[in-house]
Point group: C2
Chain length 552, copies 2
């Protein structure tokens, strides 16, 4: 007995039900006509995209989603569709998977395990289902599960107990470094224990801060992967089951962590720009490593003709910074402008002279916008430079309808080493969740494909260039010390004591931890950026601004 | 039999466990020594403050909170304490209420109903309790409940069934317009049905976006209020129970909606400034109604000596705007500066001339930063003005360590009628959740106390003054049309069809709805502000930026 199931690793636009409906139909026709599939399985909440957030609280949106499912049942024949949708039943809403065949819904499963941690808020929207769902199709008994269900013990087993020969899982499982390995390990262990083959279909694409990596797979009943779809792109493939056993198929190799991170960032930029309808991006190019990497990512995502760079030197900008920025723009074939910021800086200095005349020095201690070098007592003047650049970039963005990319990294976001409305100004922050050391690794990886970042940019000490001879290390611990401290404090929730006990100097830990604690207000106003670690700032780490908690 | 229970309507700092511990002890000593109380009841999660958000995921924080409770039991005698804390039990965390007496925990209740809607995320942190808790104290049987428990059916009844003579409720119930009436109505109805007297203790104070209004109360078994604490301030009072019946006491009268809203805004500013350690605030004073109201609120919250106003006229600022702004500053006795923005605007215009030379007009349709008058084709130039003001204000804020208040209202935030990094620049947005029509009502109310806003400011048509003869109504429906549409769409989740069916013109609905849909990206970078409606932007309304949903 042979059964052909298509895996639709697809990229949907959250909220656009009619476009998603068309996309489903197109994929289903392809699977039926080109691949000979009898059934096609889509990702979790196919019809709305994931996560639709508080759109799920709108009655009109839910009604449209439910209507779309019933339409779908009538609009396609000769292939069964397994699609996810927010199922309304009276006052209750379920995260459900429907099986549509020959104009009817032949089965409907309600997700039992609703994640409400990390980036997930499913208990805000959904009621939980309480039972397995197994249906017969062309002689096979097929069980349905959705995402979190297969991470928890018991639900795979219950499907098997309910008679399933094959298990399908609809997913919207977001990427972070190491996630693919973790996902396959956790799920295949359970599959092996339950002895049932599993078809795991994941969404792909960028949605605000989240990247869905795809990497859909099929495991046989022994927990061995017999098929894997590519990471970070759409793919529709068919899997043949012979007497309920999946036939060995192509397994896309897994990328290394560095390549995965790079691909995730490229996809994140591409989808944010495309799905929000921008005609391109601009960014400020400083000659530093962060903007160099963002430029390369943007070009790889969008093509050089969609990217524009702006150099905005000040009196503190070294000639080599300008030279390197120009080399970067030229290497990637990107149009650029040079707009010195002195006229605006001078104008503000003059305008503020009278108000500032009375005050002896900046109130660094109380100051809540620490800026690029809070520690050096010239905050206001430094921030004015950064904000003049923000005004220039936003003016060009407004004029040309191009998205402004910010270039700050996660280390800076963590400790507030950035200027609000200055270098933080922009619509999207591609490397916001990339720690500085990883910025270097990604840059070297990109250069290994073709040389786009001058070697000097990779080797000179980082500087914000807002004051004479300024270096990041004047204000912060060196990044090879800072980054691991931040990972422990921000991502792993370790206490200062634990971090010190792990071998870090207490001064470094105290400095890093107190800066993280004090800069929540600044992060709250930062643009969204792409999540690639186990805990990003944003929906993943929800801290109060007003807080008496001190990590040190 | 007489029992004296003190109600501690207190204001805690989220995250500062040691300060909160001291505050608890001080209140308990006062209740014991001055008021003769045998027991004192505190608000929900007393020891951490509410909401502590993801601090609750930190093992060090939870350990400290649990240790503090055990210390507390030893540190105070001759009065029983009822305090809320995040109770750790192995891998589980409960939102609990402990009764501490004579060095021991004599009872501990675990909250059963965990709200996970609106501004609440309790299922992110807590496991639910499953049973009532009734303890004996000085001859009375007392039941414990926590906040959401008494809003749902069944839990009050279960406490009564379990033998309680008196029910205590620890709360952190946030304010919005009409909430106090709703709260008393819902809860007293249940009290009456169960026939059990209830002591309702609410937290008071501002915490980022949320205001806790206090208004703690005691209901007798018939559901009649026999005591009510004041709104919006700390109060410790003692209630006498004779044979389990509460003795009639003072009932603070309820404010009108307008006065409540005004008081909530004053408290919100006061607590944000105080709890975050600022030495004062600054704001831009335009001569318009919004900044006039924010100035009055700030002075009422902090005193005139803590407030500084900055007038930043441009070529489009009318003389009467400057005159009125000066009158406002003088009426309230506030120090002010006048800093014309022309030098900076001219500098940017010159710097951008070459880049802008090629482009015929602004790309209004694709432009994602619509700014103050997206519809008029001069976005970039208008936004430059607004952003020059932002740079000036932030420079003064940085220099002086004063918090910058933004002055935008909810109507503007809804439709994006504001400039990112321009008039949206600032650390706190007091009237962000106040619709424009309510801005007028609050201003008239404030003037009824003493005249601080010139009549002309209340009567002239609103204008952003970023272009010649510009009026808000050139770009938006009049506010008496716009505000009710926004309330229906944003707060009540009505569809455009429903709003049109309610009698609004389809053009007005289409304009308002599409602007709300398009401006989520801008709201995401706005500063936090005080929630006073049933749904504020922020944690209360979580929409994707990347979204194909179109309300119209």
């Amino acid at each position: 007995m042979i059964l052909k199931i298509a895996i639709a690793q697809t990229n949907f636009l959250v909220g656009n039900i009619s476009a998603n409906l068309d996309h489903i139909i197109k994929a289903a026709c392809h699977a039926r006509d080109e691949l000979g599939a009898e059934m096609i399985v889509f990702p979790e909440l196919t019809i709305t995209g994931y996560p639709a957030e508080d759109l799920l609280l709108r009655a009109d949106f839910i009604a449209n989603a439910n209507n779309a499912i019933y339409q779908l049942a009538d609009r396609i024949v000769d292939i069964a569709l397994v699609v996810g949708f927010p199922e309304q039943d009276g006052e209750k809403l379920y995260n459900s998977a429907a099986v549509l065949h020959r104009g009817a819904m032949i089965a409907c499963y309600r997700k039992q395990a609703l994640p409400n941690y990390g980036v997930f808020d499913e208990q805000r929207y959904f009621d939980a289902g309480h039972q397995p769902c197994v249906f017969e199709f062309n002689g096979s008994f097929i069980g349905l599960t959705i995402c979190e269900d297969v991470w928890q013990g018991g639900i795979i087993d219950a499907s098997k107990q309910a008679g399933a020969d094959i298990l399908l899982t609809l997913n919207a499982s977001p990427f972070n470094l190491g996630k693919i390995h973790q996902r396959e390990a956790v799920i295949c262990r359970q599959v092996k224990a339950a002895q049932i083959p599993l078809v795991y279909v994941n969404q792909v694409g960028g949605q605000d801060e989240l990247i869905f990596d795809g990497a859909s797979f099929v495991s046989d009943a022994q927990g061995d992967i017999v098929f894997r779809a590519a990471e970070f792109r759409e793919q529709i493939s068919v899997i043949e089951f012979v007497d309920h056993h999946p036939v060995k198929n192509t397994c896309a190799p897994l990328y290394t962590d560095i390549i995965s991170a790079y691909q995730a960032l490229v996809l994140g930029i591409k989808d944010y720009v495309r799905k929000n309808g921008f005609n391109g991006v601009i960014l400020g190019l400083s000659g530093g490593i962060d903007s160099a990497l963002v430029l390369a990512l943007a070009v790889d995502a969008l093509g050089a003709d969609k990217v524009e760079a702006v150099l905005m030197p000040s009196r503190y900008t070294q000639t080599m910074s300008i030279d390197d920025a120009l080399l970067e723009a030229e290497a990637l074939g990107v149009k650029h402008h040079i707009i010195p910021i002195e006229p605006a800086v001078n104008a503000f200095t003059g305008m503020l002279a009278e108000v500032f005349a009375g005050s002896s020095r900046d109130t660094t201690d109380d100051c809540r916008d620490a800026g690029a070098s809070a520690m050096q007592g010239a905050i206001a003047a430094e921030n004015i430079q950064a904000r003049c650049r923000g005004v220039v970039l936003m003016a060009i963005s407004n004029k040309q309808g191009k998205l402004l990319l910010t270039t700050g990294n996660k280390s800076e976001m963590s400790v507030g080493y950035a200027t609000l409305y200055g270098d933080m100004a922009g619509g999207f922050a591609p490397i916001k969740d990339v720690p500085k050391l990883l910025v270097y690794q990604l840059s070297r990886y990109r250069n290994s494909l073709s040389p786009v970042i001058p070697e000097r940019v990779l080797t000179r000490p980082p500087s914000a260039e807002l004051a004479p001879d300024q270096l990041d290390e004047d204000s912060l611990p060196p990044y090879d010390i800072l980054d691991p401290i931040l990972e422990r404090y921000v991502e792993l929730d370790q206490s200062a004591e634990q971090i010190i006990a792990a071998g870090f100097r207490s001064e470094d830990v105290a400095r890093a931890v107190s800066l993280v604690d004090r800069n929540e207000y600044k992060r709250r106003q930062s643009p969204p950026g792409i999540r690639i670690t186990g805990r990003a700032f944003g929906r993943d780490r929800r801290y109060p601004i007003t807080s008496g908690y001190k990590g040190i």
